[in-house]
């Protein structure tokens, strides 16, 4: 029974329904499980690598930011820029002067003392530079330093304002310094000599939140240090802990508050500078990692394109049959594009899941908090879709350009 119109044949509407395209693509995928798995693997590697890079960037950034934020954002350091002068940059009541400023939580002054300490109670250590190889440095600090540095004791106590005012011969050893000096127990109030002057060990510092160098030294009251050794030629610093958001204001006022007669002598570094640095680091790191992620994604796309192209070469005769049955070039294009897009989507989903597992594992190993942003995670499978679609364009066009007679001949 003839079906054409008397006035000539009509091709009619030829575009396939979306459901037909999808079902043909699914049949094409399931007909070659091995090949499909390879294509999907390329998508998994591409999207997974991309998601891991982005996810880990967020996690590490959050970790770094957390550390910056909790300490650096609330810290101001004031330094003596002219330590060679005979007058002290920081007066004895520096802590009181600073603590009066609005937004200051605590403050303290610290400076290295030019002596060395050796184990034992009788030995007098000479000045710095002449001590034994394992010499422990001595740091003079005002009592507020313990609070500013968020020090925690392993044993004993910190010295207070009274001991500082009375210039007592007391010392707190940093944990590493105590170990170096062989001091493990201070219950019997052992003593060490510094330049032949006996000092009673009142505490051992276990940990600090700021100024980790305190763990390496013997810490004595700053007024005691000044009494015996005078002003440090190495300069002194005042560390100030502020309330969140107050660092900049405190920084602008600190120098005048401490040394109103000569504020230029003091250099002030506030947390805003580390933040600028931090932002720069974050920016550089993000750009580099994003580049690495995009490169991984491109490699995945090349993989998808390569496997799809091989699939086209293997399916020449199927293409010929479809063309003989009436498939247009766009039909063939759609067939292969749909297959690579579906495989890209599935690979994207699997790659995203895999990346989440890997990020959580890495974060767990490093004791980080894994950070996932929905804005980053949700589009990842979609990236697989786009990657699959883009990677399938060339093979699909190649398939569509195939001459049907040539295709049937192979």
């Amino acid at each position: 029974m003839l079906r054409w119109r008397p006035d000539g044949p009509a091709a009619g509407k030829q575009s396939l329904r979306l459901a037909d395209i999808a079902s043909e693509a699914v049949l094409g995928i399931s007909a070659r499980p091995g090949r499909s798995m390879l294509t999907m693997l390329a998508a998994i590697v591409g999207v997974g690598s991309f998601a891991i890079v982005i996810g880990l960037t967020n996690t590490t950034r959050a970790e770094v930011n957390g550390r910056f934020n909790s300490l650096a954002a609330t810290e101001v350091v004031v330094s003596d820029t002219e330590p060679q002068l005979s007058s002290a940059a920081f007066p004895p009541d520096t802590e009181r002067l600073i603590d009066r400023l609005h937004g200051v939580l605590s403050s303290g002054v610290l400076f290295p003392v030019g002596v060395a300490v050796a184990p034992g109670v009788t030995r007098l250590a000479p000045a710095a530079g002449q001590g034994p190889a394992n010499s422990v440095q001595v740091m003079g600090v005002s009592p507020g330093v313990f609070q500013v540095s968020m020090g925690k004791l392993a044993q004993g106590r910190f010295f207070g304002a009274l001991a500082d005012r009375q210039r007592q011969n007391v010392v707190v050893l940093g944990e590493a310094a105590a170990a170096q000096l062989g001091v493990t127990d201070i219950s019997a109030q052992p003593a060490i000599e510094i330049d032949g002057i006996p000092f009673t060990i009142v505490g051992i510092l276990q940990s600090v939140g700021r100024e980790p160098s305190l763990l390496q030294v013997a810490i004595i009251p700053d007024q005691t240090a000044l009494r015996y050794w005078g002003i440090s030629a190495l300069g002194a610093d005042a560390i100030i802990a502020t309330r969140p958001g107050s660092a900049a204001v405190v920084a602008s006022e600190a120098a005048v508050a401490i040394l109103p007669a000569d504020p230029q002598r003091l250099a002030v570094v506030s947390s805003s500078e580390p933040f600028i640095f931090q932002a720069a680091i974050n920016g550089d790191l993000s750009a580099l990692l994003l580049l690495a992620g995009v490169m991984a994604l491109l490699m995945g796309m090349i993989g998808i394109a390569s496997v799809t192209l091989t699939s086209v070469l293997e399916r020449f005769y199927e293409i010929g049959v479809r063309r003989a049955l009436g498939a247009t070039r766009p039909h063939i294009t759609c067939q292969f594009l749909a297959e690579s897009t579906i495989l890209g989507t599935l690979g994207g989903l699997a790659g995203t899941c895999l990346s989440i597992i890997i990020i959580v594992t890495i974060a767990d190993i490093n004791h980080w908090n894994a950070v996932f942003s929905l804005a980053v995670i949700l589009p990842d499978p979609l990236i697989g879709t786009v990657a699959g679609c883009l990677a399938g364009i060339y093979p699909a066009l190649r398939a569509a350009r195939l001459d049907p007679v040539e295709a049937l001949r192979r």
Partner: protein, 246 residues
């Protein structure tokens, strides 16, 4: 009837001075200028030695290939200027192919293979399966609807291929040595099937080397060195005659 005019108001397919050559030094003339008409319900055999141009002619008749010169007129419409999309539409709607090597998709069942022939006619999916099963029933394979090609005999595969070609009720069925890979019994059953299609109003063109197969046709074309001519069986040595009658 002028020998160079391929146009005929009643013709299903007309070739007017259609020729096909392939570039080379010298160019290879696979089909020399040919005038040919195939009418509705024609049952035509096409014989010739290997390399004589049978497949080239079949591809041009099936709109799979385009002539280097001349024109192919399908149901009164010249296909020369038709875009590929429209020509593909004609193949989908009006032309069926049966190949010597069956060309079934191995990962699909007999039903799915037959239904594939309807996909590009935009037959809804639910109807495709229904029509495919009905067509398989007509070719005597109702018990093999779920079988994969690898599970079918040669004769069964060719029946599936025929079912795929005719499921969309084409006007023209082009068979390229449909019994070439079959044993005698299978070949007979396939040919019986093709004989019956005439009753459905389908014009059938069979390419064959076998005079017994050709004998079933009403009209006989012979190709020799790219030239096609009408002939009568047992008279293959006659000089060329215009292949216009139908």
């Amino acid at each position: 009837m002028p020998a160079t005019s391929g146009s005929d108001a009643r013709a299903l397919l007309s070739l007017a001075a259609a020729e096909r050559s392939y570039p080379g030094s010298p160019p290879v003339a696979a089909l020399r200028p040919a005038d040919l008409c195939i009418g509705p319900r024609d049952y035509v055999s096409l014989m010739g030695r290997s390399g004589s141009g049978k497949s080239t002619l079949l591809n041009i008749m099936g709109l799979l290939d385009r002539p280097s010169a001349g024109s192919v007129i399908f149901a009164g419409t010249d296909t020369e200027q038709m875009p590929d999309r429209q020509v593909a539409g004609l193949r989908a709607q009006h032309i069926g192919f049966v190949f010597q090597s069956f060309n079934l998709l191995p990962q699909r069942t007999a039903t799915d293979n037959v239904a594939l022939g309807l996909l590009y006619q935009r037959v809804p999916r639910s109807h495709r399966e229904q029509i495919a099963r009905g067509t398989l029933d007509r070719v005597g394979l109702s018990h093999r609807v779920a079988a994969f090609p690898g599970q079918l005999s040669g004769g069964e595969k060719q029946r599936v291929a025929i079912a795929r070609a005719v499921a969309g009720r084409p006007a023209l069925l082009l068979c390229d040595e449909p019994t070439g890979n079959l044993d005698a019994a299978s070949a007979t059953s396939v040919l019986d099937l093709l004989d019956g299609l005439r009753d459905d109003g389908i014009a059938v063109v069979i390419v064959t080397h076998d005079p017994d197969v050709a004998a079933r046709a009403d009209r006989h074309l012979v190709m020799s060195d790219g030239t096609v001519r009408d002939t009568v069986l047992g008279d293959l040595g006659d000089g060329p005659r215009p292949a216009m009658e139908h």
